[in-house]
Symmetry: C2
Subunit: 261 residues, 2 copies
C-alpha cells in the first residue's frame, strides 16, 4: 500500500494500520470530560479527540489547559487531538472570536497538552499560519480540515481540498462530507484514493450519516488514515460504536491479508 | 434504496437484504458434495452455489441430476444456484463440449433441481437463448455472468457488461473482476452503482483477491445483491468465511439503520 499513516513524533499511529480509530469527547465540564474519557479509554481507541467547542469553560484558557492536562492523565498514553470545530462547519457556538481561538490553540500547543490540533482550512490564512507555527514550534501535528454537513462537493473539488490542506502546511488533511446518495460516497472514496496517491501527507475522510456508514469502515482501503467511532457519545452523524468498527476492520484485515484464498 | 434484491418465484432472497450471502460447493464426488453441503448449510448462507465443473461425473447427466436432487434434500430449504463455470472464465476444465453443456443446463432446468442457473454471457448467443428458454419454461432464474481473472476493464465497459446481461434476458447480471489497484475496486463499485440505477434486474459484483476484499463486504451498499463467502472451501480468490461476512454486514446494517446517530 502506498498510503501514509498518521505519525506522531515519527511513530505511526495504530502501528501504521489504516484506518486508526479516533473517539470524540464532547463533555461540557471538566469532571464530565474526565468521566467520559475514562469510559472511552476503556474501549481502547487509537486516538482521543477533545472537541473543546462543547466545553463550557472554553473562554477560560487556564481551565482549558487544566482540563487538557487532566485528560492526559486519564488517557493512558492514547494520543490526544485538540479540536475547536467551528460552528460554520458543524461545531458548537462558542463565546470566542477568531483571535481568541487562535490564542487558545497557541496556548494549548505551548503547554504541549495535545499531540495534534485540528483547525479548519477555511479559516483566515493568517490564522492558519499562526496555528501552524505554534504547532510546529512545539512538535504538535496539524490537521487542516474541511467539513460540509449539507452536501458532497464534486470529486475534483474534494481532491482540491486535500491538496489545499497540504499546501497550507498540514501534517494531516481531513475532509468530511454529507452524502445525498451513494454516488456521493463513491465520489468521496475516489477523491480520497486520488489524494492519497498524490500527496505526501496522510489523508482522512468520511461521508457522514447513514448513507456514509460504509466509508467509516471501508475508507481505510481507499487511503483514509483515520475513522471516528463512538466511545461514549457521537460528535457527527453516522459514527459507529468502537467495538463495531474494530470488528468490521478485523474482518477486512483478515480478508486483505489472506492472499489467494 | 432503489436497489433490486434477487427474487425467486417472487420472494426476495434474504428478506431483501443486500447483499445476500452465497456459499460455493466445489466437491468432486456425490458423497463429498453432500458432506460439504451439510457443513456449509450449518453456516446458514442465503444461497448455495453448486459449481458443477468441479464434479467428476459432470459427463453423466443422470449422476448430475441425482446429486442435485440429493443436494436439495440436505439444503434445508436454502435455494440452489447451479453453475458450470467455463474454464475461459476461471472454472475447471471439463470433458463436455458446449452443446453438451447446454443440454446439461436444459436437463437441470427440466428436473427443477436448481432455483437459479449461471451461464456466461460470453457464450454463443444461440446457447444463451437455449439456456434462457429452458430456465424460463421451468421457473428457474437466470444469472448471466462475466468474469475477468486477469484485470479490471474500465468502468464504462463494466456497465456495458451488466447491460448486456439484461439485454440478453438475464434475471440477474453478475460481473467479477481482478483488481490490480484500489482504483480498479473503485471502478467496479461505481459501475455496480450505475448499473443498479439503470437496470430493472438485480446486479451482482465483486473485485477478487486481497485488494478486492472490501467489495465483498461493502458491495451491497453500492447495489450488489449477492456476495460469495466460504462455508467449506473458496471458489475464487478473496472470499471470506461466512461468519466474517455476516459480522461485517451486521456492523454496516446497524450503522446504516441508525439514522442521525
Amino acid at each position: 500500500m502506498p498510503f501514509h499513516p498518521i505519525a506522531l513524533k515519527g511513530q505511526p499511529l495504530a502501528q501504521g494500520r489504516l484506518p486508526a480509530v479516533c473517539a470524540p469527547l464532547v463533555a461540557a465540564t471538566h469532571d464530565a470530560l474526565l468521566a467520559q474519557a475514562r469510559q472511552v479509554v476503556a474501549a481502547r481507541p487509537d486516538l482521543l479527540e477533545w472537541r473543546v467547542d462543547f466545553f463550557q469553560q472554553i473562554g477560560a484558557t487556564p481551565a482549558v489547559l487544566a482540563a487538557a492536562g487532566a485528560l492526559r492523565q486519564v488517557a493512558q498514553g492514547i494520543p490526544i487531538l485538540f479540536t475547536r470545530r467551528s460552528s460554520r462547519e458543524g461545531g458548537q457556538a462558542i463565546p470566542l472570536d477568531e483571535a481568541q481561538v487562535v490564542a487558545l490553540y497557541q496556548a494549548v500547543c505551548a503547554a504541549e497538552v495535545a499531540d495534534l490540533v485540528d483547525f479548519e482550512m477555511a479559516n483566515a490564512e493568517a490564522d492558519v499560519a499562526r496555528v501552524r507555527e505554534a504547532a510546529r514550534r512545539h512538535g504538535v501535528a496539524l490537521v487542516l480540515s474541511f467539513h460540509d454537513f449539507q452536501r458532497t462537493p464534486p470529486a475534483a473539488e474534494l481532491v482540491a481540498r486535500f491538496a489545499q490542506a497540504a499546501a497550507l502546511g498540514a501534517d494531516v488533511a481531513k475532509v468530511a462530507v454529507m452524502p445525498a446518495a451513494m454516488a456521493d460516497v463513491h465520489a468521496l472514496l475516489g477523491a480520497t484514493l486520488q489524494a492519497s496517491a498524490q500527496l505526501e501527507i496522510p489523508v482522512v475522510s468520511m461521508a457522514m450519516g447513514p448513507l456514509g456508514a460504509v466509508s467509516r469502515l471501508c475508507g481505510g482501503a481507499f487511503g483514509s488514515a483515520l475513522t471516528f467511532a463512538v466511545g461514549a457519545a457521537a460528535s457527527a452523524p453516522g459514527q459507529m460504536p468502537i467495538a463495531d468498527v474494530r470488528a468490521g476492520l478485523a474482518v477486512l484485515a483478515r480478508a486483505a491479508g489472506a492472499a489467494g484464498t
